[in-house]
Amino acid sequence: MGGLVRNPSLTLGGLLVGALVLASLFAPVLSAASPLAQDLHHPFGGLSARHPFGTDAFGRDIAARVLYGARYSLLEAGACIGMACTAGTLLGLAAGARGGWFDQAVMWAMDILFAFPGIVLALLALALLGPGLVNMLLAITLFSIPVYARLARNLAMSLGGALYVEAAVAIGASPARVMFAHILPNAAGPIIVQCAASAGSVILTAASLSFLGLGVAPPAPEWGAMMSDGRNYIGAYLAPTLFPGLAMTLAVLGFNLLGEGLRQLLDPFGPIRTRS
């Protein structure tokens, strides 16, 4: 229990993210209602034992929709960060290891991508690819790459001078072996911290794009899409907007706290890196 007091961010963040994972896994068990079943005779039902969060404009159970929505959030965070972290880390490690013109070219390209405010680049990519879940994930991945590339490149540069790397080179390890067996494991800490820290902003951006009608399409129980629908009834019915937003705040807060807690654990004096 000592860890709980010493690192409350990690504990609380872990609990919130754990709850998100459990909600995604056990949504069908936790809610008897279907997230898509309409009941047009009972729109905007109040809070009851049968519908704990009430029903929306189509009489769908809001609680079930919020629960199933956890799956979209996890998918968005997992897919985008998985792809962006892999691509960015490989690019950055290669740039840091090879140096020279390759390093210059990669970092210049990353600077250009970095100059685009995140959602503007995502909008440009969505204009190109058309709206939809997969295209949205690709668009968010694209603007998330530079953070990882810069981070991995700087780590490769600073670890490249370490004695154990020099020793590995001296005994004849191949560049690839030095990279993946010696540098990457030691660079993993800060990269993992960055993954947790950017999960929250990925979920926020994805929900924003869905809210704008460019991401996940409405009948799907995605939180941003639910709020996009709910906004039409603001002033009359609050529940369709209130509950998905609350769930989303808790999910994003969970990832932000987890990132903060991991940073304290793995890299206590490191700077805060964020991407808007």
Partner: protein
């Protein structure tokens, strides 16, 4: 003017060119024929071809890009497909709203985030620091559009203190500015606090403490001047967060700014508008970073000699 800043200034046109080329190529790759969009669905093949020739779309892409640059240099960014007005006019009528909203929100974010972070760093782990850290991480976690909608429900519908949406009077700006300021406020507050704590860990601060200087004097005379550099960087770097935020906030509050212009342009595939708004957004971010770097060169004596 030192070499570093000079290099950055010289790099600016190159960045501008690269960004314009990127957006230009991106919109050229848009599915569908823009000439077909302009001519309308019922237009004959000849009419579409005529639009092609008028817009120069029958030229090679390289020639099109050079023509685009030449026109842009003369202040002509093309014509909106949706409104059929010159894109420059569209920008001119939307930009003041975004500037007003962005400045109000950024002022709020900087005004609360920077002093809050400085105060929190003075006593890490104490109640004020804990409250501030909790508030900033919450500010970063709240979806701005949801906060906007909840604020509408509370302040406009229930309490009737403020107008619901649109941009008729000065009071219209309050709710969108509040919603938009949250994320940058959280970022700026956290980064300021971290920068300040980093400075207080330095040896010269320890020396000042060891020689028995008042904590207040250490803070104001030794730590704060050193903090000016990271704080200016933080303020300059986070402008992008505000610009990104306007896209969603303006759509929530029907605020007639550039962000909403962009969202509508993406929906209608209004490529000249997408191109122009993207350029404006990127140029403002690059300029803000450049301004921050120049301010740092001025503030930091180590950078002056360069």
């Amino acid at each position: 003017m030192n070499g570093y800043i000079l290099r950055k200034l010289l790099a600016f046109p190159a960045v501008l060119l690269a960004v314009s080329l990127l957006t230009f190529l991106a919109v050229r790759m848009l599915p569908g024929d823009p000439a077909r969009l302009i001519a309308g669905p019922e237009a004959s093949a000849e009419a579409v071809a005529a639009v092609h020739a008028r817009l120069g779309l029958d030229q090679p892409v390289g020639a099109q890009y050079l023509a685009f640059l030449a026109h842009a240099a003369e202040g002509d960014l093309g014509t909106s497909i949706e409104s059929r007005r010159p894109v420059v006019d569209e920008l001119a009528s939307h930009l003041p709203y975004t500037l007003a909203l962005g400045l109000a929100a950024y002022g709020l974010a900087v005004g609360l985030g920077v002093p809050g972070g400085i105060l929190a760093a003075a006593a890490p782990g104490k109640p004020w620091d804990r409250a501030f850290s909790a508030a900033t991480i919450l500010a970063l976690s709240l979806p701005s559009f949801w906060v906007g909608l909840m604020a509408m429900e509370l302040f406009a519908v229930r309490l009737r203190w403020l107008p619901l949406m649109g941009a008729g009077s000065a009071s219209h700006i309050v709710l969108p500015a509040l919603a938009l300021s949250l994320a940058p406020m959280g970022l700026i507050g956290r980064m300021t606090r971290a920068a300040m704590i980093e400075i207080l860990r330095q040896n010269y601060i320890r020396t000042a403490r060891a020689k028995g200087l008042e904590p207040f004097a250490i803070y104001v005379r030794h730590a704060l001047p050193a903090a000016s550099t990271p704080i200016v960087t933080i303020v300059g770097l986070n402008l992008g967060a505000v610009i990104a935020g306007t896209v969603v906030t303006e759509s929530v509050f029907s605020w007639p700014g550039v962000g909403r212009l962009l969202v509508d342009a993406v929906k209608y595939r209004d490529y000249p508008v997408i191109q122009a708004v993207t350029l404006v957004a990127v140029v403002s971010v690059v300029l803000a970073n450049l301004a921050a770097e120049m301010a740092i060169a001025f503030l930091d004596p180590r950078m002056r000699r360069g």
